[in-house]
Symmetry: C3
Subunit: 340 residues, 3 copies
């Protein structure tokens, strides 16, 4: 059970209700009106708790689980113990995620503006917004309904935020337009000037950065991540993209829909990503590249050329993953030969 | 045109005025008293707008541009269409930067101290300073004229900041002396203790960090970048150096003048950089190195030895760039041979 | 001498007192009641100052020093000049650290809560705590004695902090339990949601993150570092571990005691480190690994497999350091042969 200092469990829910919400089919020790009080891993779940088998390497834990019910792929149903109610679904982890959201829903913002917040009189906030202590909301800002503006968050003049945005403590926004249900974690920096200047031994000359940052619906932006605004064109983050902590996105970058950018990776100016691109942690992409839909870039890669749709690359410089593996194996073998 | 929610265009300016400010020579369809209202890329600029050709790969865009005027290198003047007024200069991008600053000047700080700011009575601020909501200015701080202290910025006791410094939202400074016209972006951390301790299995023993951070004039420090103060000597950033986002500078590091440090790179303690050193994103330098004037270090390099003035290195471990390319090509070729 | 704008020297101390506090044995030009007023490097120390020889490459500086006293390893005592009082110890740098702490103790927090701080009425603070301007302390927070909560720091509901914790400006905590004497530097982000979701082309589904962050006593956490809370299990940082700036720690990670994690390194979800593991800057560890006690991982390594206790690895992918050196040397040699 999650620590009640920090989490409040909702529910309980009947198995039937869980099945309805997740689209899973009830099987096994059928008990649709049985009541579940919480979620838990297979190994520790009790008879009132809901679990799941996501990874086949936990099949043994499924065999021994005391959970009341579990999401399981139909192909793995045979491994379930007799007392377990099965919730069959082709995507058990996804179903678990939906169920866990039911047990632990995001607390709704408590509407109101903290006395220490500083909200410009020309800003417009929708119904149900919560503005926490010390938040600063600039002139002409527009915020949708039921947004949560965290403690000390700073929103610069003119920014637009959609419904149900959640802005973490200390995040700062400027020059940006943010879609609905976007979550921005603490300390993220969005919309500051890009790194643009004309190099000159007598003193580099700053180039005004005249674009914006446009963020689609349902995007997540991790803690202390930085996204610079465009130099003229905009910097764009497509709907549903997930960005981890400490990521750097340069000016004019365009990220497609549903991409996943893991911690500490960075993208240089004007590079464009298609949809559903996945990039591992600490990877870096140079500027002005095109990365196709569904491309995958392994962690710590250094990408200096375009990547085709669906291609998987790895290494620094990045090459197709099969070539990378060959290079690694070859080098290891040659070095072993030369050794004593 | 830049989004008027966020940007206000100044001007208009005659071509003659632009030529005067940038030192460019008027040629082509000469029309010195023609009025320009904005800047725009070659492809989208209209007859009242100013553009530039920086990169020869856009020569075609120059041929077809409808811009009223453009900065062009004299060698490329022949490609200009008949109606275009040319502003000839050996450094078109630099000239564009100066002109764009004229059209989009940094808004002057609106002098005054926000009611929610907390300014120690012993702090001294020059004329024309703006202190935004929630900023905290400690005891004995001295700030020059026309500085902008962003929302929630925190300046620790004793810090000195020059004229026209711009400190972004949520930046924090301590133990530092900052030159004139320095720009510090949101969330930068400057002057905290370096990572210094005597390792000990019974408990690492912290070594007091007794130095400062000294930042020259006209430096830029990116969002969420961290610069630790010296352990005894100071950490020093030379005038005119440009530092991108999420960069780490360790204690006692000395960075020369006019250097360029791209995002997510890091420098370990006591390493010294000469002037005009350029270092690509995600590179790392170990401690106690000497990097000569004008050296260049490619992105994602790992530098574990001194780099000579003017030398260009790449790779991890970094080697002269020509050697690096050879290694990459060789490995690719050998792996291809061994493959099926 | 450290800049008095920023530092206040304590003392003076007799050599006998210094010897007593550090366990060093007095030798050389014995003068136990001589008074020392400050610490300084060998090269600049004067007769009233205390220094140390940590690294044998400074033996020459020892020979020429004008310092009044110095910590020296017994094996190096012969190199000392005649007028120098020796403080013999097998760990001179550690002894210096303790002595420097005596001369430059951390200023005790000045108890009190700044008028602009926002402290929930249900929070409980121990005696002697200082809460600086704009700090936000949530409901049911518990803080021990003599803690320093920096300007604009934000502590979410329910968090528990031990005695003498020092929380830097702008740090944000949520869902965490923090031991005694922990130092958290400016801008660190601790306890936000981990990067957990079920990937889905129709929209990635967020998985509620139901764990906490548990931080042992005497831990240091650097500026702008991010530590996500667990997904169900906790994220754990063992006592005495030192974490540098801009480090990323994913959900469910367990870090042992006394580890050293250098700047910009990152650890993916569910990886476990033993005690006294040392990891260089910009290294990355993939998820679900086991890193044994005392393992060492060189800077910029990419670790994709378990590392045995005491093993040293390097490279991306990381291999035993001897193998890495062989690979580097071999590749350099082959490429040189192939070159013209």
């Amino acid at each position: 059970m999650a620590d009640p200092r920090f989490f409040t469990v909702a529910g309980p829910f009947t198995i039937a209700e869980i099945a309805r919400r997740t689209g899973a089919a009830i099987a096994g020790a059928v008990a649709a009106d049985r009541v579940l009080t919480d979620v838990a891993p297979l190994g520790s779940a009790g008879p009132d708790e809901l679990s799941f088998l996501g990874n086949p390497k936990y099949l043994d834990a499924l065999r021994r689980t005391r959970a009341g019910a579990a999401f399981v792929h139909p192909d793995r149903a045979a491994a379930a113990p007799p007392g377990l109610t099965l919730l069959l679904t082709p995507a058990p982890y996804r179903a678990y995620a939906i169920a866990a959201q039911a047990f632990y829903p995001d607390p709704l913002p408590v509407p109101g503006i903290a006395p220490s917040a500083v909200v410009d009189p020309s800003a417009r906030l929708g119904a149900g917004c919560a503005v926490e202590a010390g938040a600063v909301i600039g002139a002409r800002v527009e915020i949708g309904r039921e947004a949560l503006i965290g403690a000390h968050a700073v929103i610069g003049p003119g920014c637009i935020l959609g419904d149900s945005v959640r802005l973490g403590a200390h995040a700062s926004l400027s020059h940006c337009i943010v879609g609905a249900r976007v979550r921005i974690y603490p300390g993220a920096r969005i919309g500051q000037d890009g790194f643009g200047f004309a190099p000159d031994p007598a003193g580099h000359v700053k180039v005004p950065q005249l674009g914006r940052v446009i963020i689609g619906d349902d995007v997540e932006i991790g803690a202390n991540t930085t996204i610079d605004r465009g130099a003229g064109p905009d910097t764009v983050i497509g709907a549903g993209t997930m960005i981890d902590n400490l990521v750097q996105i340069g000016h004019n970058v365009e990220v497609g829909r549903g991409c996943v950018l893991v911690a500490q990776m960075g993208i240089s100016g004007s590079t464009r990503l298609g949809d559903f691109v996945m990039i591992g942690g600490q990877s870096g992409l140079t500027g002005h590249l095109r990365i196709g839909n569904g491309a995958r870039i392994a962690g710590q890669s250094g990408v200096m050329r375009d990547v085709a749709p669906g291609e998987t690359v790895m290494g620094s410089p990045a090459v197709p993953i099969r070539d990378h593996h060959r290079q690694v194996v070859l080098l290891r073998r040659l070095a072993a030969k030369k050794g004593d």
